[in-house]
């Protein structure tokens, strides 16, 4: 306690990150029944799309595309509901005013949310992936494991950076945050090609959809995981990796700017923690 009280600068930032990540890390393993619902629901959707491909006699790799896309929905849903909407929930429940009053920065709080959320979502995604692979007999042709790890890491940095940016945007949106999160599910699954190669949407739609890190990340991962992936890919894997790296920097920078502005405006107008329903 005394050590925490003295923490300043980077040390305080670090402590704040882990303090916010802690309940998510512990909570996700303490409340194991969450895992059931959060893996079964996406699994049902994946299964439905797999059976559509089977009804169409699609090549086996398409089943794999749907399975990997379905697993990645765990990250997108986590970003929407546990990052973007989180500050709004916190405001509704009275936590936001505590965050604002605490000496740690809101950026560290958001980073802690991202770290905790990432671990939660990764556990769900891995479970969905493993179960779907077993149930539907998906076979992978892994090109390069280190490259796959790099792509995944870059995708997650950019994605959660975007989630941090969305958190302040959604906070301003107020009660519309709920509807915004709802709205950003199926349309994003469509635009980003969660269940089919994004190239099928055409060049311009795929380019526009590439503003979402999961579009390029998913495309690159499919290229590295499936034999048909390279021929159905949107851009080359190195190009997608480079764009993802740039996105990561931009989103985190924008999140910092946005949060600073929001905090300043909130302090000036005194409406940051106002509850309206």
């Amino acid at each position: 306690m005394s050590e925490l009280a003295k923490a300043t600068g980077l040390k305080l930032f670090w402590y704040t990150v882990w303090a916010r990540a802690y309940p998510r890390l512990i909570g996700s393993f303490r409340e194991k029944s969450w895992m059931f619902f959060e893996t079964v629901l996406p699994l049902l959707a994946v299964a439905a799309f797999v059976f559509v491909y089977r009804a169409l006699d699609a090549p086996a790799d398409y089943v794999g595309f749907a399975v990997v896309g379905g697993a990645m929905t765990a990250f997108w849903l986590n970003v929407l509901w546990s990052m973007a909407s989180q500050l709004y929930w916190d405001k509704e429940q009275g936590n936001l005013e505590i965050y604002v009053m605490a000496p740690g920065s809101l950026m560290a709080v958001l980073l802690g949310m991202a770290v905790g959320g990432l671990v939660m979502a990764a556990a769900r995604a891995l479970t969905i992936l493993a179960l779907s692979t077993l149930l539907f007999g998906v076979s992978y042709q892994l090109g390069s494991l280190p490259f796959l790890a790099v792509i995944f890491t870059l995708t997650m940095i950019a994605l959660y950076g975007m989630g941090m940016l969305f958190a302040s945007v959604f906070l301003v949106a107020g009660r519309e945050a709920w509807h915004l999160s709802n709205l950003l599910q199926e349309p994003i699954y469509l635009a980003s090609g969660f269940y089919f190669p994004v190239r099928a949407m055409g060049f311009w739609v795929a380019t526009f959809a590439s503003i979402l890190p999961l579009t390029l990340g998913l495309d690159a991962m499919r290229q590295l995981l499936f034999s048909a992936g390279a021929t159905l890919g949107f851009l080359s894997v190195p190009a997608e990796a480079s764009i993802l790296a740039v996105m990561g920097v931009l989103f985190i920078g924008a999140a910092y700017q946005s949060l600073s502005k929001l905090e300043a405006r909130g302090r000036r107008d005194g409406r940051l923690i106002e509850k309206r329903r």
Partner: protein, 293 residues
């Protein structure tokens, strides 16, 4: 306020009053967060995107050939399924909204209303919004993808009667879920979606049930939605259209009879279960529970 509610007219009949006021309240809750333009985009974008995912999947595999019976069945199944999700989750979410979000459930149950019909009314708002989404999706399908719907050859009798029975069944399922939610402290957020997701998989909404492993196919026969989707698709596409083979052996009359059986059964079960569940919730002090879960 007085004009829009016109409470005097409804005072005589508690069930009707509860139903209509709940439907009006549901509409306010659903729509008043946005201007009509934004609300209409919101109401259409999600379902349209969901159906377009299937269109793109189908198109990728068939190289853009969409004028096949399978495509029409998949498209229609997905479009009509919007009603299933909306009614089932709409009814059960009313309990979550009133109890957890607005903290109003205890106050509602202090008023002279009929809670069963109140929940049905709340579900009707979602049904209304979903009906508009279905209509737009169907029109979009006809105009953009050449969906073979000819309004002149539609068997309206079969369509309307099967849809009415199907909606009674779905409302019954939603009421059972709502009743369960009254007593549930955890996972109530996901129950409606879980049921709707399971039905999506097992009712042949977007693929023939025969594609499922043989040991899973019988599960589909347990749900009224399976029969409603088959009847509605037959009615809309005409008698000579080759549909999914799973229920091809059942006549239109048999489908309606099965749906009628389900409708009666689910109405009775939902009424009994709701009242038992409400009693339990009151006895255990759960009616004003706010779990923040």
């Amino acid at each position: 306020m007085k004009e829009s509610l016109s409470l005097k007219r409804y005072r005589g009949n508690t069930k009707w009053r509860s139903f209509t006021v709940a439907a009006w309240l549901g509409w306010q809750v659903e729509s008043n967060w946005a201007d009509p333009f934004l609300f209409s985009i919101y109401s259409v974008a999600r379902p349209l995107a969901a159906v377009l995912i299937l269109v793109v999947m189908y198109s990728v595999i068939t190289n853009g050939v969409l004028d096949t019976p399978l495509f029409a069945y998949i498209y229609l199944g997905n479009a009509l399924y919007m009603l299933v999700g909306a009614v089932i989750t709409g009814v059960s979410w009313a309990v979550i909204d009133d109890r957890e979000r607005y903290g109003m459930l205890k106050h509602l149950h202090l008023t002279p209303m009929d809670g069963y019909w109140y929940l049905v009314g709340r579900g009707m708002t979602k049904l209304l919004v979903a009906t508009v989404s279905v209509l737009i999706t169907l029109i979009f399908g006809v105009l953009v993808f050449g969906l073979p719907l000819d309004w002149a050859t539609v068997n309206w009798g079969l369509f309307l009667s099967s849809t009415a029975l199907g909606l009674i069944c779905m409302t019954g399922i939603g009421l059972c879920l709502g009743a369960l939610t009254l007593q549930t402290a955890r996972h109530f957020w996901s129950m409606g979606e879980a049921v709707a997701g399971a039905l999506y998989l097992f009712t042949g909404a977007i693929f023939p049930l025969d594609v499922l492993p043989s040991y899973l196919i019988p599960i589909g026969y347990l749900f009224p939605v399976t029969y409603w989707l088959e009847a509605a698709r037959r009615a809309l596409l005409g008698p000579h259209f080759v549909g999914f083979p799973t229920l091809a052996w059942l006549s239109d009359g048999a489908l309606l009879a099965i749906l009628a059986g389900f409708a009666v059964g689910l109405s009775v079960v939902s009424w009994l279960y709701y009242h038992w569940s409400l009693h339990q919730a009151k006895e255990k002090g759960l009616i004003d529970m706010q779990t923040s879960y």
